[in-house]
């Protein structure tokens, strides 16, 4: 299967593609011309609906449907906010896309804003990426100078201003309502829903929040038509997806794949990850960012029914949480046999504890407990009851919080225990060795042959 169709990264290797001039030479901004001159806003929404493209930020909600929910009360401004907070461990595709192809995002923002009737749109970028913010601001200046932004764009009477907003270092601001709070100059505390942003979002006005990659696909969809887009991919997983691959692979990096690519090909072919580093073998995979359930190698490669898995929303979630996982944000982390699952799980639990905004007690207290208990087990002070305690706390958090960060904290832990319980038990029964990482690796090596 030659899965080389590139929609987003087609021109990634063209020197100077980050400049307006080169981007334009390569056919850039024709999507804006087509949308603004030939299509009505509703027709653009229709094409996006037909494409079947699903939100690339993690939840996979159909983008066209989200757009059609936007309330349109008379005389009230509407906003488009691009979510470039990218803080989910394992995910670095938006960073890559914005730094290499800023105009692809700007073009998508213009078309999407036009479709939604927004005259002021925001790109909320995590504050650590200040250098990327400067790249985007330069690209915006260039687009403005070329007449694609500002007043009366291309003489069509449509006005748009783009604002790039820095965050301040808080994972929770990736959650869309926390992001809106942050954009209003407040702490990033997620809001209770309803009302949903589509009705009351930024400044209490109707708002759409979409991920960088989602918005970047819009130019291609407008240029080529939603139906063409829907032909790419597999089933309800239409189109291509950026996967950011890290961990013990030969070639970490960002890859654009056609959805439906066999996982075996993604992991092992030289076009993508290039296989596990020399002399080692795959032990576990986190397929879609740290929040999705971890899978042992055999369940990642094949479903419990023995079918080869595909890189698609449906195939990766085949088997539910018992034996499956999620495509999530496309943050792919491969771990070989030297990885201590307990240590990795503790590390992630510390992340969620640190990033909990603290509004709901199950999340605030639960993430703290889980971190403490995991630290105890990892450092050789745990007991067997601790393992069940973790499962219990995870269950109590799930579904009982204002925002999904609570679930995101619970799932990695529950799944690690589900699939690697023996490793947790070994840490309890070998406390001395467990506190020495070297010894653990050696033992794990033996355990996983």
């Amino acid at each position: 299967m030659a899965n080389t169709k590139k929609i987003l990264l087609e021109h990634i290797n063209v020197p100077g593609i980050e400049t307006y001039e080169v981007y334009r030479q390569k056919g850039g901004y024709t999507g804006v011309e087509k949308a603004l001159k030939k299509l009505t806003p509703d027709e653009v929404v229709e094409e996006v609906k037909k494409s079947g493209v699903r939100g690339r930020g993690g939840a996979g909600f159909p983008m066209g449907m989200k757009w059609s929910f936007l309330a349109k009360p008379e005389g009230v401004p509407r906003y488009l906010v691009c979510n470039a907070d990218e803080s989910e461990p394992g995910t670095f595709k938006d960073h890559y896309l914005m730094k290499c192809l800023p105009h692809l995002l700007i073009e998508g923002m213009i078309i999407s804003s036009y479709a939604l009737g927004a005259n002021k749109s925001f790109i909320y970028v995590r504050g650590e990426l200040m250098y990327v913010i400067r790249i985007l601001e330069k690209a915006i200046e260039e687009a403005k100078a070329a007449g694609f932004l500002g007043k009366n764009i291309l003489g069509t009477g449509y006005d748009l201003e783009l604002v790039v907003q820095p965050g301040g270092g808080a994972y929770i601001c990736g959650e869309e309502t926390a992001l809106l709070e942050s954009l209003e100059g407040k702490r990033g505390n997620p809001r209770n829903k309803p009302p949903f942003p589509a009705v009351k979002g930024l400044y209490q006005c109707p708002t759409v929040v979409n991920n960088v990659e989602s918005i970047a696909t819009v130019s291609w969809i407008v240029n080529n038509g939603g139906e063409e887009y829907a032909k790419i991919g597999v089933g309800r997983s239409t189109g291509t997806k950026l996967i950011s691959a890290s961990g013990h692979i030969r070639k970490p990096g960002v890859y654009e794949i056609e959805l439906g690519l066999p996982v075996d090909e993604f992991l092992n072919s030289d076009e993508y990850c290039g296989g596990i580093r020399d002399g080692h073998h795959l032990k576990a995979v986190v397929a879609g960012g740290s929040s999705v359930p971890i899978l042992p190698a055999h369940l990642f490669m094949k479903t419990a029914n023995g079918e080869g898995r595909l890189m698609s929303y449906e195939s990766l979630s085949e088997g539910g949480f018992a034996t499956g996982t999620m495509l999530g944000s496309g943050g792919f982390i491969a771990m070989d046999e030297t990885t201590c699952i307990v240590r990795n799980t503790w590390n992630f639990s510390r992340f969620y504890h640190h990033e909990s905004c603290g509004q709901c007690s199950p999340c605030r207290e639960g993430t703290g407990w889980m971190e403490k208990v995991l630290h105890r087990i990892e450092h050789g002070h745990g007991n067997m009851r601790d393992i069940d305690l973790l499962v219990d706390v995870a269950k109590k958090i799930e579904g009982n919080t204002i925002c999904p960060l609570g679930d995101a904290a619970a799932w990695p832990i529950a799944s690690a225990i589900r699939h690697f319980r023996d490793e947790f038990e070994w840490h309890v029964t070998n406390p001395g060795a467990a506190s020495k990482p070297g010894a653990v690796y050696q033992h794990l090596n033996e355990m996983s042959v």
Binding site: P89, L129, Y131, P166, G168, G169, Y171, L183, E184
Partner: protein, 165 residues
């Protein structure tokens, strides 16, 4: 560093920038400028003191407490004086999977300080941060706006030598 605690006025250039930032938002929504302006403040003063927060509140016509609660929520703002170079290393899973723990230990040994501390000459501060969206290029750290990726002990030697000049 200590003297910056009382120096709370922006340079003329930054003041102009503040004006420009406030214009980005709809009328009456100038509070949205808070994060960008706090970044400007940190850029100029190196850290964000209580006096700086009061100054920012005044510039944006909001209550000082509105600035305090925001500055303390977002981890990028240094609420205490820091060294000339703040090394913020990523301690999250993927970077550790790629050998981060060993490399960061080497860094701490080399500078002879722990995370959260500043070298006695005031040149380096080490801080731990969570995932920097550079996981495949890890282990990594950030110093101001610059990313240092694919770190190993040798690279650390070079970076520290370079920045010590």
């Amino acid at each position: 560093m200590a003297e910056t605690a009382t120096k709370t006025a922006f340079t003329a250039e930054r003041l102009k920038k503040v004006e420009e930032i406030i214009q980005r938002y709809p009328e009456g929504r100038q509070k949205s400028a808070l994060l960008p302006v706090l970044h400007l403040a940190q850029e100029q003063f190196g850290w964000v003191s209580a006096a700086t927060m009061d100054y920012v509140a005044e510039l944006l016509s909001i209550q000082p407490v509105e600035v305090y609660e925001v500055a303390t929520f977002y981890t990028m703002f240094h609420l205490e004086p820091v060294g000339k170079h703040v090394i913020e290393y990523c301690r999250t899973g993927p970077c550790c999977t790629m050998g981060g723990e060993e490399v960061y230990d080497y860094l701490k040994q080399k500078l002879n300080i722990e995370t959260g501390e500043t070298t006695s000459d005031g040149v380096f501060t080490i801080k731990e941060v969570e995932c920097l969206a550079a996981c495949g290029w890890g282990p990594c750290f950030q110093i101001r706006e610059k990313f240092y990726m694919h770190l190993n002990n040798q690279k650390i030697d070079e970076i520290i030598e370079d920045l010590s000049k």
